[in-house]
Symmetry: D2
Subunit: 197 residues, 4 copies
């Protein structure tokens, strides 16, 4: 039972955290069981691209920014779209996007522009049937509610919360797999961490 | 067994995701069981502060930015330290920080300045024995490796990855508990979402 | 004569700075002489709006972010579109945009969405005949080259450089006029400056 | 006479803009006449560094971000300190800072860390006698008020406004000189502009 059904929960944050934990476990289980090939395909796209650009709206964008920072630690050339120093995307580059619905205007438009520029698009989404998915070479489908799905059927959490949590964890799993494959040690990566803050 | 012990894993990303899932589940279980009062205390600080400021370095800062956006959706007045429009912190305001080690220079210094300005400091950390914890009225301790702990004893993941994942999920649980308590519906929150992107 | 005509200038940066200074002086002279009423109208819109949102692409966005920070110092409620804590724009709010051409897709689209939401749009541009100008209640026209005008007729500088410089200086003049009108002293504004960095 | 002496100015924004224009012209004249060698030295440091990092607090940081974007357009490898994708600074890299007083804690500390890491520091400041200047190989001195100088002797404008305006214009002059020297056309630079927004 969710804390929503227990408005006078004894420890409401612990109960909410338990809810988050259950929902995250369910989503990860589904990803691990049903998306193995898409996950490996996405890792291969990241590893092979000369440059990786990430783009998401709102919290999805912050989640992908966490991924981007880790990919930088791994030695990849990576940019967050909209950052001051992000250049133009070009032929062969990878645009990694996250959009629950796959219909977010700015994301779909950027995916189209990236495709026009010769780049490859990958998407993390809740559906493989969307304008974004149509533009993507690889779609990882997360069984979570989209941002505008407020039915609370797919998740008790608000809006796209579960989806965004999945993007964070998926990004870190992609990093982990690429790191293991690289053979580099933690000490090899550490010197890349920002050192002026 | 971790994927590190299986360099030729059949589906390396799925295995990495399973690892992430196991580690996250462990950390959440520990939080739910052992930190109920600290979690409730932190929720109360968030709910009662006239203004909430969040601050973390690197990925911890991005994780807290995800929390900040949700608190804005809930109707709280919230600022990310370093954002263009963030004003001065003052008496009664809350500074919510996240630092695995509790020793990050910029975070500890900001916590001291916030305290000097009459604000209250809360911390998410891997320890309650640190310069940051000494300044904090409330510390939520996450049983994850700190950023510079590369022993891989507390986590197979790189650096502070598990800690940063916990900050994301904990922030969303804090939001969920405050949302439930508010009695607001999802439709009540939706009109606050950024609408120009 | 510009440094472009003297590739072997004795002191190339000083010559470039003199060029910038001449071009800026010309643009400001034109603004001061020919736009007095539009400038006052824009100041009135800023002063009267319950909340000010600013939006520009690339360097124009950074220029307006400088303006936004100053308006915060003055005590206005101000948001940079795209910032983590920026909420939805609504009825009566002001969206201040800057676009040399007045055709930048993201800016025009945001201006349309803002108008649909009942907000007022103001624009700093190089033309009052554009999709952006059509949506704006107030347009301040700067006699500088647009970003894609590479004819070097309006300016020897690269792309929209002169326009973006004008946005910075114009934003500071708007602030200065509002500050003078407020009757506040510098010491009154100072306590609003971010104090945790 | 400044608009401060005319609280009932007929066109207060135009008067404020004229004030800004006069103050900017004065500062640029002083830079052009008295800093030719420091300006050329700074251009040489930018041109020769394998990677350029920029850092300033508040509006000075935004001003240097404008410079950073232009240097990216020119083809330099450039990072804004604090950006998600900014890596560690290292031997031979250049840290370009701007601080009116030369005493801003975060800037001085970063300059020290950069020096310790083998990087070179350059500074734009109002003084060559400061902790920041002591760490810098090259200091360009702008005859403007520092942020905390509220005497209004050096400038009628608020706080470090004139200094920050000078940083914007100086950054663009440095770019212009490097661009002229490069022999590249505007059409050569254009393809580097961000193309997904």
């Amino acid at each position: 039972m969710s804390s929503a059904e227990h408005p006078v929960a004894e420890h409401p944050v612990a109960e909410s955290l338990a809810l988050v934990g259950r929902e995250v476990a369910g989503v990860l289980e589904q990803l691990v069981q049903g998306n193995q090939q898409a996950l490996d395909a996405l890792a291969a796209l990241l590893a092979d691209a000369p440059r990786v650009f990430v783009l998401g709206a709102g919290r999805s964008g912050l989640a992908l920014s966490m991924t981007a920072m880790r990919l930088m630690h791994l030695g990849l050339t990576v940019h967050v779209v909209g950052e001051v120093t992000a250049p133009a995307i070009g032929t062969g580059d990878l645009l990694l996007t996250a959009s629950g619905s796959g219909t977010t205007h700015t994301i779909v438009r950027a995916a189209q522009l990236a495709t026009d520029a010769g780049a490859t698009v990958a998407a993390i989404s809740t559906t493989d049937s969307s304008p974004l998915a149509d533009l993507a070479e690889c779609v990882v489908v997360v069984a979570a509610a989209g941002k505008t799905d407020r039915s609370r059927e797919a998740s008790e959490q608000y809006a796209g919360g579960l989806f965004e949590q999945a993007v964070v964890l998926l990004g870190d799993a992609l990093f982990h797999a690429l790191w293991m494959r690289s053979g580099a040690s933690a000490d090899d990566l550490w010197p890349r961490h920002a050192n002026l803050e």
